[in-house]
Amino acid sequence: MTVFSTQTWPECGFGAQVRILAWRSLRAEFADRRLVFFGLLQPVVLLVLFSQVFQVVGALPGLSGYDGYVNFLVPATLITIALTTAMGSSAGLLAELYGGFTSRLRCMPVSLFAALTARTIADGVRLGAQLIVVVAVSYALLGFRPGGGVAGVAAAVALTVFFGWCLDWVFVALTTMVRKVEALQAVAFVVTFPLMFSSSAYMPIAAMPSWMRILSALNPVTYAVNATRALSSGVASGPAVLAAAGTAFAVAVVGGVCARRAIRR
């Protein structure tokens, strides 16, 4: 029987494990057409709703520099999408951690941290696809014409993908620590909404109560939104982008360390 033809395969390193597992996640995800369709529709719905509901905000002082609220809003919506996508992936991750495939990995020479890393990379690729659709829709339907042009918007999208990947680690960590879907939803909500609304995403910080301004200054979302806005308007400065990437990466490191510890239990 060939079952017993001894294999002389070399050991599969961490990087290769991540690549194989990320590719596997993506194949599974894109094989499900409903997932692809609603995954791409969801951020468009978000964008259209926000652009209509918050239209009046465009008349506020402090927004005059953006030549229309949509140019202020779209970069912020990119970041919001990154946040909600990261949040949304936690339920799927939980199911996967307790599903059959992961239980098999536990008794294979495969690092579970590699499985988590693969998951964040697959989430990042999905986020990239979502963002491209959102930018296309805002260009076609909402008159999104930022000063930075194609290069500026591309840079903003790239930064948003990086931000989303970093924030994904927070939810990966929460998932590995909380391990119960109802509790996880509650926790994810408590984390996500303050991050979203205490940032400069929807309102200029100057229009907020003073205690919220402090919160806003500590919020990585603020830096990310400021940087994507600056990049898409073509007025980006190195320090703004560095601040955004740096704060997001710090969050990723904390999330990664927590997740690595929790997954071994």
Partner: protein
């Protein structure tokens, strides 16, 4: 010299106050099949989890292929295959894709992985369903894919946790043939089961676990000598005659067990014993309203060993 692939020594596993394994030890020879028998909660899964490096022992040690399961977990994992009670598959993709990804993770290059997947699909007769999503496969088929998945890396030791639970008789018998074939070709197999028949058919060596202790260990023949091949249940019309018949049967040299007012269970070793029992009741002039012959169950093992059942309450 004997070649022990698994060595377990003084193994204790506690979950808080609960002692799942209460200090057990045994060895398993290369190419043999060990059946671990026990009820739910007897400690079977804890034992398999420790040997397959998914759980750590509280006290004691275990080694697989000469490697400590805690200190050298990674090396152990390269040498074992595990099939759980529930098929550990990625349901979103096909059996072929499952096997291919596992081969890749075990270090095969893309070409080798494809070849290995195709090989196992042929070997396990999965051709017709190989490219459908795994979630569409029936229970029996999923088990086959799962077993194939645990063999991707050609393990030296295969752990099967209740492999036949939930399978129909035909699938079960096919699975048994596969397991026997694997062992014949040199794979060491550890399987857990609640069915004596399974242990009897497959195992070279049997361990019966009860509340974390080994209550009986040895070859299947030893089980039988402790137990008899079959159990005859006699049901009397008159409850006042039960005690008399009990004494007559034990006097005849057969282990009898009173079960309720009018029932007696007798472990027999062959047809001669059964005929003897019939003659005995006839000679006593007793009226029977029931006479059934059944294969022994795990409960009978516990009763035979301890007289009282070692079953978790």
């Amino acid at each position: 010299m004997r070649d022990s692939v698994i060595v377990v020594d003084g193994l204790i596993k506690r979950f808080g106050e609960v002692e799942a394994l209460a200090g057990i030890g045994f060895t398993v020879e290369r190419g043999s099949i060990l059946a671990v028998l026990g009820h739910n909660g007897a400690g079977k899964t804890s034992l398999v989890d420790i040997l397959s490096t998914r759980a750590r022992p509280t006290v004691g040690s275990a080694s697989v292929c000469g490697l400590d399961v805690v200190r050298s977990a990674r090396q152990v994992r390269r040498r074992i295959g595990v099939t759980n009670q529930y098929a550990a598959l990625d349901d979103a993709v096909s059996p072929r894709e499952n096997l291919r990804v596992l081969a890749r993770l075990l270090g095969a290059n893309p070409q080798q992985a494809r070849r290995r997947a195709a090989e196992l699909i042929g070997l396990f007769g999965l051709d017709t369903h190989a490219d459908l999503p795994a979630r569409l496969c029936s229970g029996g088929l999923r088990r086959r894919v799962d077993l194939a998945a645990s063999l991707v890396g050609t393990p030296e030791v295969l752990f099967l946790d209740e492999p036949s639970t939930g399978l129909d008789p035909v699938s079960r018998s096919g699975l048994w043939d596969t397991i026997a074939g694997l062992a014949a070709a040199g794979t060491t197999v550890v399987l857990t089961t609640q069915y004596l028949e399974e242990a009897d058919r497959l195992a070279d060596q049997v361990i019966v676990l009860g509340l974390g202790h080994i209550v009986l260990a040895g070859e299947p023949a030893r089980l039988k000598s402790a137990l008899g091949n079959q159990v005859v249940s006699l049901k009397l019309e008159n409850p006042f005659e039960t005690e008399r018949l009990m004494r007559r049967i034990t006097g005849f040299g057969l282990p009898a067990n009173r079960q309720g007012a009018t029932m007696i269970a007798v472990a027999v070793t062959g047809p001669a014993d059964i005929v003897g029992l019939v003659r005995l009741t006839d000679a006593e002039g007793l009226l029977l309203c029931g006479f059934t012959v059944t294969e022994p169950t795990l409960d009978d093992v516990y009763r035979a060993v301890h007289q009282t059942a070692v079953v978790p309450s």
